[in-house]
Each structure stands twice: as structure tokens, then as C-alpha cells.
């Protein structure tokens, strides 16, 4: 019997764009890296995402967005998460999608530790999450630095 727990990851798509291929590819890559990935599909409200993160007690929340509405939606997602006690100090928040340079500081400020943009490889994303999980498991405060 092993007590080693697979990393549980929620991959969610807030907002109204239906471009879910990226999210699915990332979900699949994380699965292939031995993680348990909860995929909730497209068109998720901030409340739906936060509720899923709460109920599934995930270690990682990854958001995918290609609609350009991240500045609008991400603060609402984070607020809904925090309201439920899912906080960036305990859970890794990361994001992926079409997100311009100038928006990144604000997202990091919100609690997103990393933003993956077009061109990022699934290997980078997997390694990043893995590293974070390993650091956390070793008892230290995970920095989320790759």
C-alpha cells in the first residue's frame, strides 16, 4: 500500500470561447505524466470552477483562455476560489492562452505563479507542475519557480 498521492489538477476554461484543444492537450499531457486531471469542459463560470476546485480538493488549478477576457474573468475566478478557502498559498494556480506581456504582472499579482503562452511545450508545463508538487511534498514552501 502506498501513501504517495498522485497530484490532482483541475483544468478549466472560463469564459465563452470554445477553443478547448489547448486545454485538452495540456490535460492529456498531465495525465500521461501520472497526474489525476479533472477536466470540466468549456464555458465555465468562475463559481463553477471554484466549486469544482473545492469539491475535488485539487493541488493545482490551471485555467485556459483564448478569448482575451482574462483581465475580466481571472480576478473573479480567484475571488471565487479564495471565498471557498482555495488559496494560492496552498494550491498552484497557473494559466495558459493568448495573454499579452503587459497583462502578466497583474495576473502574477493575483496569484498565478506561471503563465504559459503560445509556443510553450507540454513538456515545460508538465515539468513545471511536477517541480512544484515535488517541492511541496518535500515540506518546503513551493516557490513555483521552474
Amino acid at each position: 500500500m502506498t501513501n504517495e498521492r498522485p497530484t490532482r489538477v483541475l483544468i478549466a476554461k472560463p469564459g465563452l470561447d470554445g477553443h478547448e484543444r489547448g486545454a485538452k492537450i495540456v490535460a492529456r499531457a498531465l495525465r500521461d505524466a501520472g497526474m489525476e486531471v479533472i477536466y470540466t469542459g468549456i464555458r465555465q463560470t468562475p463559481e463553477m470552477i471554484a466549486e469544482a476546485a473545492l469539491q475535488e480538493d485539487v493541488d493545482v488549478v490551471g485555467l485556459s483562455i483564448l478569448s482575451g477576457a482574462h483581465a475580466e474573468l481571472f480576478p473573479r475566478v480567484v475571488a471565487a476560489l479564495k471565498e471557498r478557502g482555495v488559496v494560492p498559498e496552498e494550491v498552484l494556480f497557473f494559466a495558459g492562452g493568448i495573454i499579452p506581456d503587459e497583462d502578466i504582472p497583474a495576473l502574477k499579482e493575483l496569484g498565478f505563479r506561471e503563465i504559459f503562452r503560445p509556443g510553450a511545450s507540454t513538456r515545460d508545463i508538465v515539468e513545471y507542475v511536477r517541480q512544484w508538487a515535488a517541492e511541496r511534498a518535500s515540506g518546503g514552501e513551493a516557490t513555483g519557480k521552474p
Binding site: N3, R5, P6, V37, Y39, G41, A52, Q55, E56, V86
Partner: protein, 321 residues
């Protein structure tokens, strides 16, 4: 009090106070076989046994998730709180899993009286994860009045759900093979309620006739037609599940089922703990490695190797020759 016991006690008291994050955390500890989870379960156990537990099983793509979501909504309309445990398979290679049942249960997320938890099988082959029954028990203790357990896409032999649930619902769809499929042993035999989902497709009457033919009249196994995507037949299904539970109660069958279930649980745990005890130490694992190599090299057969593993518990590494 040990730190583990204190942590479990604190978690349980928050959980019983309605803290949903504590519930989610407790489910994690239980799912992982963590000592805190075990303690929490033992504190919660006296509060279990109140929920009505229904298992939803059937082949992949038959609409189990959609049906489970609709059923949860139906029970909510009837004023009952609902827990859902949705199981999907783990990869035998990477041990990872893609848990996608929530996709079909979107509308439930807005309702605080519904709690949905996804689980990966983590190597179990019976259609559930090893701790699915325990996860359902925690939801039960947390006050959920109905707990729905959705299995992985089950073929013919994934019958574990029958021992975890009071009522087992087997979901079929038209066009799923000829009458002989339905006559085979295994999954068809555990059905307390049969559902023909996607009942708007051709072939539904033929399937219904076959099912009626193989279910003897005196077993009361109803055949319910549903179109889960349109929420048709869900109320009838909920009625049938409730009626089955009523019959269990009034016939005294429920007591026997509870005893059977308890016996299986105790034996399963004893097996796990025995094995964990054997492999807990460095020397125990070394012993296993040694025996495994001997079996792979055909120097030893698996039966003898297992016997040596058991015999050598606590002793020196077993001789493999």
C-alpha cells in the same frame, strides 16, 4: 492524543459543522489511505448508514454521467441532499487519469446541497477505486441523503458496485449487441433496476423485450426507459430506485445485505493490512523483490513464492531456492 488523531478530530468536527472544504479534505485523506483518513473514518462511522446509496453502472458511452447528473437534480427537486462519487479509470502505464464526469454534471455545481467528487480507479479492476465505498461513507456521514456512485465504463465483469450500493442501476443502450449479451453472467445479474438510456434510438422495443424476457417476474427488476440528455424518464428512475430500497427495508433484506457488505469490507481490509504489514519494512520489500526475481526466472512458482512471503513475515529474507 497523537498529532494524527488530533488532526482527524479537528477535521471531523469541521466536516460535521458543514465545512465543505473539510469534507473535501477528509475525502482526500480517505482516498489516499492516509492515517488521518483512517482515523476520520472511524470517528465518522457511527454516523454512516443513513444515506440511500445507489450505484450507476454500464458500458462506456451509455450515458451514465448524464443520467447521474439528471438523477441528482431529480433528488434535489424532491428536497434531498445529494453526494456523487464518479469513478474513471487510471492509466495502467502512467497511473494518471483524466476525470471527465463533471462535464456532464455542470448544473449541479451551483447547488450547495450537492457534492460531486471524481475518483480514479488507481489500479482497481472492479469498476470502482479501492476506497470508493469509504468516500461514499464519508458523504453519508456528512449528511448527504442520497449518494450516487457512478462506476467506470463497465463491461461484463465489473460488479464491485453491487457491494458498495443499496441499489444497483445497470444502464444499457439500444444497439448494444444481441440477446445473448444480456444473458451472460456478471453485470446483468447485479441489476436491481435496468435502464435503457437513449431510448429515442431505434431498437429500444427489441431491447426492452429481451430484458423483460431474461428478468424473472418475481425478481421485480424494472426496466426504465430514459433519454438522459432531455431529462426523460429520470423521475421514473428515481421512483424505481426508491421502491427497491423500500422493498429491501420491508423484506428485512437490507439487514442481510448490510452484514454481507460488512463481512466483505472487513476481509478486504484485513487482506490489505496483512500485505501492508509484510511490505512495510525494507527487508520485507527486499524479500518480495527476491521472490519476484525467482518467479520470473522460473525457479519458483507464484504459489510457493507467496507462501514463502507469508511464512517469512518478520523473519530473515526467505530463501528462494
Amino acid at each position: 492524543m497523537t498529532a494524527t488523531a488530533a488532526e482527524a478530530e479537528e477535521l471531523v468536527s469541521r466536516l460535521l459543522g458543514g465545512d465543505r472544504r473539510a469534507l473535501a479534505r477528509a475525502l482526500t485523506f480517505v482516498e489516499n489511505g492516509d492515517p488521518v483518513g483512517r482515523q476520520a473514518l472511524s470517528l465518522l462511522y457511527p454516523k454512516t448508514g443513513r444515506a440511500q446509496i445507489a450505484g450507476i453502472t454500464g458500458g462506456s458511452g451509455t450515458g451514465k454521467s448524464t443520467l447521474t447528473g439528471q438523477l441528482a437534480k431529480e433528488y434535489r427537486r424532491r428536497g434531498r441532499s445529494v453526494g456523487v462519487v464518479a469513478v474513471d479509470p487510471s492509466s495502467p502505464f502512467s497511473h494518471g487519469a483524466l476525470l471527465g464526469d463533471r462535464i456532464r454534471m455542470q448544473e449541479l455545481t451551483a447547488d450547495r446541497d450537492v457534492f460531486v467528487r471524481s475518483m480514479a480507479t488507481r489500479g482497481e479492476l472492479g469498476g470502482l477505486a479501492a476506497t470508493t465505498g469509504d468516500v461514499a461513507a464519508v458523504l453519508d456521514a456528512a449528511g448527504k441523503q442520497v449518494v450516487l456512485i457512478e462506476t467506470v465504463g463497465a463491461g461484463q465483469d465489473e460488479v464491485e458496485v453491487a457491494s458498495a450500493a443499496d441499489t444497483t442501476v445497470v444502464v444499457l443502450t439500444p444497439g448494444g449487441g444481441d440477446g445473448v449479451q444480456a444473458m451472460k453472467a456478471g453485470i446483468m445479474e447485479i441489476a436491481d433496476v435496468l435502464v435503457i438510456n437513449k431510448a429515442d434510438l431505434a431498437g429500444v422495443d427489441a431491447l426492452a423485450a429481451q430484458l423483460t424476457a431474461i428478468t424473472p417476474r418475481d425478481t421485480h427488476v424494472p426496466v426504465i426507459r430514459t433519454v438522459a440528455t432531455r431529462n426523460e424518464g429520470t423521475a421514473e428512475l428515481a421512483d424505481a430506485i426508491d421502491a427497491h430500497r423500500q422493498r429491501l427495508e420491508s423484506s428485512g433484506e437490507r439487514e442481510r445485505v448490510a452484514l454481507d457488505r460488512a463481512r466483505r469490507q472487513v476481509l478486504a481490509q484485513a487482506r490489505l493490512q496483512l500485505l501492508a504489514g509484510l511490505l512495510d519494512s525494507e527487508s520485507g520489500r527486499a524479500r518480495l523483490d527476491q521472490l519476484v526475481k525467482a518467479v520470473a526466472a522460473r525457479e519458483l512458482d507464484p504459489y510457493t513464492a507467496a507462501q514463502r512471503l507469508l511464512d517469512s513475515a518478520g523473519g530473515e529474507p526467505a530463501s528462494t531456492t
